[in-house]
Homo-oligomer: 399 residues x 2
């Protein structure tokens, strides 16, 4: 079996970004790095090198049955206070040097992907502060061979950049559509900042997925998929169980918007819906994908409502909540009793299509479990496994 992880995380150790940073920022970087304290304990641990040690990463992934992966960010790029995935958008005074930091990561990532040619699809980062800058970097990273496309940062309410439905982002969508660059949006992003107290953290955990999901209806209602029928949009690591309910909800509002009745809902919504020729669920079925990461058994019965061809499994390596080193067990637990063709699509076929992996070439590495292994039900959970896929809960979440 070919197993592609549609959700991996990688990045350089802080000082290793220096050679990738434009030299005019080196002095400033040296000063900044001297006093910077990394807020992530796991990036100080010996295992942190999984983010940047190419050989170790490849060895561990292969042991885990994974032949190729899509690479989202994880570490702290130059001049960021924290991980760039969840860091809020910089204000104008911080933009310039953060943008330099982001580009350093993208250059590092291109080299890191080249170390395992054809097996790593790196996702380039952009910022939304300056659309021209973003478009230029999208073109550059596409030329540089980053097959993962771009990561569109989440925009929290009150952020210093407009929401994702704003028309000023159109050049970004147009460029991605023209170049065939996938647009990714990752869980954990788009949520407002929080105070570090236990209740605020618990509320954050409950709400954070919803804030990431917003990108879906912002792009649909903003007409992005109407204007760009070929654009591919991926919602990664934010579950898949919410999709059927949310699509029904969006279709409901769309039907209200197009009802032509005299209510304010129909009046105001109708002006936006007038630019759309399909229902929200139809745009989803055509343009959208779910990087469903560590899929749980409870998500399997929903696969026809989501679309079997929309789902991509991922291991979330090297995160604690990821399936490593029990990815084989995770795959057995979730996929043991579904038709072989569906399993192959979810664990590899769709990711190959979206991110341009060559399945024939990947097969030649001889990595991955035998198909028969994955049809054996998992009878005992692996000791010490921390991924939610091994939780007993089977709840379908509302978002």
């Amino acid at each position: 079996m070919i197993i592609i992880s549609a959700d991996g995380h990688a990045g350089a150790d802080l000082l290793d970004y220096r050679p990738y940073l434009e030299s005019r920022y080196h002095d400033e970087f040296d000063d900044w790095a001297k006093t910077f304290v990394n807020p992530f304990q796991d990036l100080a641990a010996p295992e942190a090198e999984r983010n940047w040690n190419s050989a170790r990463r490849q060895r561990e992934l292969e042991q885990d049955g994974i032949v190729a992966e899509v690479l989202f960010p994880n570490t702290v790029p130059p001049f960021f206070p924290s991980g760039s995935l969840t860091a809020p958008h910089p204000g104008p005074q911080e933009y310039e040097r953060r943008w330099a930091g982001i580009k350093a990561h993208n250059r590092w990532l291109a080299d890191f992907c080249a170390e395992a040619e054809g097996r790593r699809a790196g996702v380039a980062q952009i910022l939304l502060n300056d659309v021209d800058d973003a478009v230029e970097e999208i073109k550059r990273t596409a030329r540089a061979g980053l097959k993962g496309g771009i990561l569109v940062p989440g925009v929290a309410p009150g952020a210093p950049v407009p929401p994702l439905h704003d028309p000023r982002y159109e050049p970004i969508w147009r460029t991605c559509a023209e170049l065939g660059v996938p647009v990714n949006h990752h869980g954990g992003t788009g949520a407002p900042g929080l105070e570090p107290n236990p209740v605020a953290l618990a509320v954050f955990i409950v709400e954070v997925s919803w804030y990431a999901h917003r990108a879906l209806w912002h792009l649909i209602l903003g007409g992005v998929f109407e204007r760009h029928p070929d654009l591919r949009f991926v919602l990664t690591e934010q579950g898949s169980d919410w999709i059927p309910g949310v699509l029904k909800t969006l279709d409901y509002y769309f039907s209200r918007f197009t009802s032509g009745d005299a209510t304010a809902e129909a009046k105001f919504g109708g002006m936006a819906a007038g630019a759309l020729t399909m229902k929200p669920s139809e745009y989803f079925a055509r343009n959208c994908y779910v990087g469903a990461t560590f899929m749980k058994p409870s998500e399997i019965p929903l696969r026809y409502d989501i679309g079997v061809d929309r789902l991509m499994w991922g291991s979330d390596f090297p995160h604690d909540e990821g399936t490593f080193p029990y990815s084989r067990e995770a795959l057995r637990r979730t996929f043991h009793d579904i038709p072989a063709a569906e399993r192959a699509r979810i664990v590899a076929g769709t990711a190959a299509e979206v991110y341009g992996f060559d399945l024939t070439a990947l097969e030649s590495y001889g990595v991955g479990p035998a198909e028969a292994e994955l049809t054996v039900p998992l009878t005992a959970l692996p000791e010490g496994a921390t991924s939610p896929v091994f939780n007993p809960e089977t709840i379908i979440r509302a978002w």
Copy 2:
């Protein structure tokens, strides 16, 4: 049948607030009112007097079969840029005079309720900028006989006041619990500001309910119902179909928080959940109610999952989306085939309990349809009816 509307809206015409405003603000009010342009067309229409013309209001409600109602705000109080229900929290420099405006409304409302003694439960408004001020006003309005309790404004992400789970609001919850004052939260509130373009409006319509629902888990996770087992909290005009899915989602996260495993979710969430002795759904069943307003037939099958004793019907008079003048038809459409005791609870019994209406006294007015009338299925929708209760859609929304 006694029919109580748990969701009505009322307020004074702008200049009629003047006598209720502390006299030291009169000059400032006169200057402000001279240039103020009311943004609501419906408040300039002849029908706007339904908000403040006591005799007309009572006559129309009685024709519609409604004997009593709970009164939320609708009009613009002194110094507000727009309706106080959805107006964002004032910054510190605007607080003083807006607070004077809110108190003027509360004094007007007490008089308006006294004009139909026992048949109007007015909901007092507060602001969250100054907790001491709010507590004082809660005590004053309770003494003044406003049986509707208080309206807690929604707090949007990025608002100039802390989120509703913040411990600094504890004196508000404690005061309401001690005095038996119901705490209401109304749909349409708690959403971030929006730019006035069609897509932003459509996105707002899709998202606005979720922002209002946040109060539910903010208060649960903030331990408000743990500390105040008798506090009554009402979520009004934000649907009811989302409740079962959201309670399952909250219970799911609670089970993750209390799992004791090594994930970040369990670690951070566990600190908040450690202060709770029940599951979120159990607090809901004990402390929370749904002012479900114009309930649709599609919400009826969910009533046992929500709790029949948690639901309160409302007409949303005098809004366009309300059921007037077809409340009888709306009631027939939704409730014709449910057991009589359940119907009586949803259309009157629970509202009487929560807001202190005297059902025996209300019966003496002889207002309301015969029970037999409401058991006749509605075969044709009334011409020109604008309430969503008459829409054909039967979708259960995710939020």
